[in-house]
């Protein structure tokens, strides 16, 4: 029977929750990197034992970690004892180095973006928010960082290099941070087209490349932000999350900031349509798609002013129609006195049948449903605040 590994990033370390395919009994390992913020951990789709982790700290900066044994042991790539013995000589700690590309050869030498006071502010690297390993090469992975940019490694994480065409897009100087920082938090591949990648940036919006990352275009048409002076600009949207089903990669779902809500595009982001329907609010962070039903979508609406569950009731909402018609899923979730939040990278699905759905809260709970969301149980209840949840289906 195959198994499940749930990779949980928290404010105080990483945790790995494992179960067999029944998803009834779980074991918990961790904290890995105790005391550090683990923004994200994700495994390679082509090597289930290879996991990348983003380890960061307001004191000590960014560290990239990699495990090649399913999370039992970790190394900063290029620094393991085996790699120290390589004929390449001493490693240089390049795995922790994220340097924006301002060379004229590879992109426009863009060095500033819009700051809160309206001035231009230098791009300053702060942390890696999200790691997206390649679908076909275990040594290749993409990293979405703050201040917003996209980096790629092709040597297993030993070194990271920016894809400068994104930041060099003509709108880059107008990008502005949201309250959580100016982060690139979503990276989606089109499994039918290796040249196409979607990314999303708070608070710049969604972007797409169709040439493998050399050039990008904003894909925000149809979105609305009534709190902006110009409600439908080319960029400036605080997109919280994108999701798609691999069988239908032209259909993309989005959770936008309040004033927008849940959107759907049927043409790879060229045009968006709001599909809030009967959702109780238009605010939330994560959005995800069922592993086997391309029109089944999950969102976790929050009170737009308080960013806690409406009425103190934690409910996931599921649409089986690709939006507009939503049903609350509450069985097993707290339905009174619940005031936690679910952050943008803290929801994931596995690929078993029936599909498992997982999410973590900033109260330290990780909830799991082994039946597509009908019933929920807490795998753990008292972790540090959860930043990210990735479900990995093991072979």
């Amino acid at each position: 029977m195959s198994g499940i590994r749930v990779l949980v990033g928290t404010r105080k370390g990483g945790f790995i929750l494992t179960s067999d395919g029944s998803r009834k009994k779980w074991s918990v390992s961790g904290p890995h990197f105790a005391g550090w913020e683990i923004y994200h951990m994700k495994a390679s789709p082509v090597d289930s034992n290879r996991i990348f982790a983003s380890q960061s700290s307001g004191w000590f900066g960014q560290v990239m970690q990699r495990s090649d044994d399913g999370g039992k042991t970790w190394n900063t790539p290029g620094s393991s004892p085996e790699e120290l013995l390589s004929p390449d000589g001493m490693p240089k700690g390049e795995s922790n180095k994220f340097v924006y590309d301002t060379s004229s050869q590879t992109g426009k030498p863009l060095t500033t973006h819009l700051w809160y006071d309206g001035s231009q502010h230098p791009w300053e690297f702060k942390r890696v928010w999200h790691i997206e390993p390649s679908r076909d090469n275990p040594d290749t992975a993409y990293a979405g960082v703050e201040d917003a940019a996209l980096f790629r490694t092709t040597d297993g994480g030993k070194s990271w290099h920016e894809l400068p065409g994104l930041r060099g897009h003509g709108t880059g100087s107008k990008w502005q941070p949201g309250a959580g920082g100016m982060c690139l938090h979503t990276i989606l591949f089109d499994p039918t087209n290796p040249k196409r990648i979607y990314v999303a940036i708070s608070a710049a919006g969604a972007f797409r490349t169709d040439d493998g990352g050399a050039t990008w275009k904003p894909i925000n048409r149809g979105l609305k932000s009534p709190y902006l002076p110009e409600p439908t600009p080319e960029i400036g949207f605080c997109v919280h999350r994108l999701a798609l089903h691999p069988s239908r990669p032209n259909v993309v779902f989005m959770q936008l900031h309040q004033g927008g809500g849940v959107y759907r595009s049927d043409n790879a982001g060229d045009q968006w349509v709001e599909v809030n329907g009967n959702l109780p609010t238009d605010f939330g962070f994560p959005i995800d798609v069922h592993a086997h039903e391309a029109d089944t979508v999950y969102a976790v609406p929050m009170d737009p002013n308080l960013r806690v569950p409406p009425e103190g009731k934690l409910r996931v909402y599921r649409s089986r129609t690709g939006g507009n018609d939503w049903e609350p899923l509450a069985r097993g979730l707290p339905q009174e006195n619940c005031y936690v939040n679910v952050l943008r990278d803290a929801m994931s699905v596995d690929s078993l049948d029936p599909c498992g759905v997982y999410f973590g809260t900033n109260g330290g709970q990780v909830y799991a449903s082994a039946d597509g969301g009908d019933n929920w149980t807490a795998i753990v209840r008292d972790l540090p605040a959860v930043l990210s949840v990735e479900a990995q289906t093991l072979p």
Binding site: S57, W59, F60, G61, S79, K97
Partner: protein, 98 residues
């Protein structure tokens, strides 16, 4: 032999228990000591000083012989007691946060 004492989290990151002892080429300065430290423990690159600017990370300080060298030039010579190993260089993380 120069001695360096690191904050808890950097010792954990580098797999160090206790203090670090380093052979440092040339005069003992914060720069020469950090260069030697990072050559021995490459995973520490970027955690004490910024990878691009080389500047000390804001929430860290360098103390030696009851003096604060945090805001001095990185090449400032450190006291003889540091060079001789009689006293350690302290890399101290801010005692703050929740």
């Amino acid at each position: 032999m120069i001695r360096v004492i690191l904050p808890y989290h950097l010792k954990a990151l580098a797999g160090i228990s206790g203090e670090v002892q380093l052979e440092v080429a040339g005069p003992a300065s914060v720069r020469s000591i950090l260069d030697a430290l990072e050559a021995r423990y490459p995973m520490l690159r970027g955690t004490i000083r910024d990878q691009v600017t080389g500047h000390r990370r804001a929430m860290l300080r360098f103390f030696a012989c009851e003096q604060d060298f945090s805001n001095d030039a990185l090449d400032t010579p450190l006291p003889e007691a540091i060079a001789s190993g009689a006293e350690p260089l302290l890399v101290v993380g801010a005692i703050a946060g929740g």
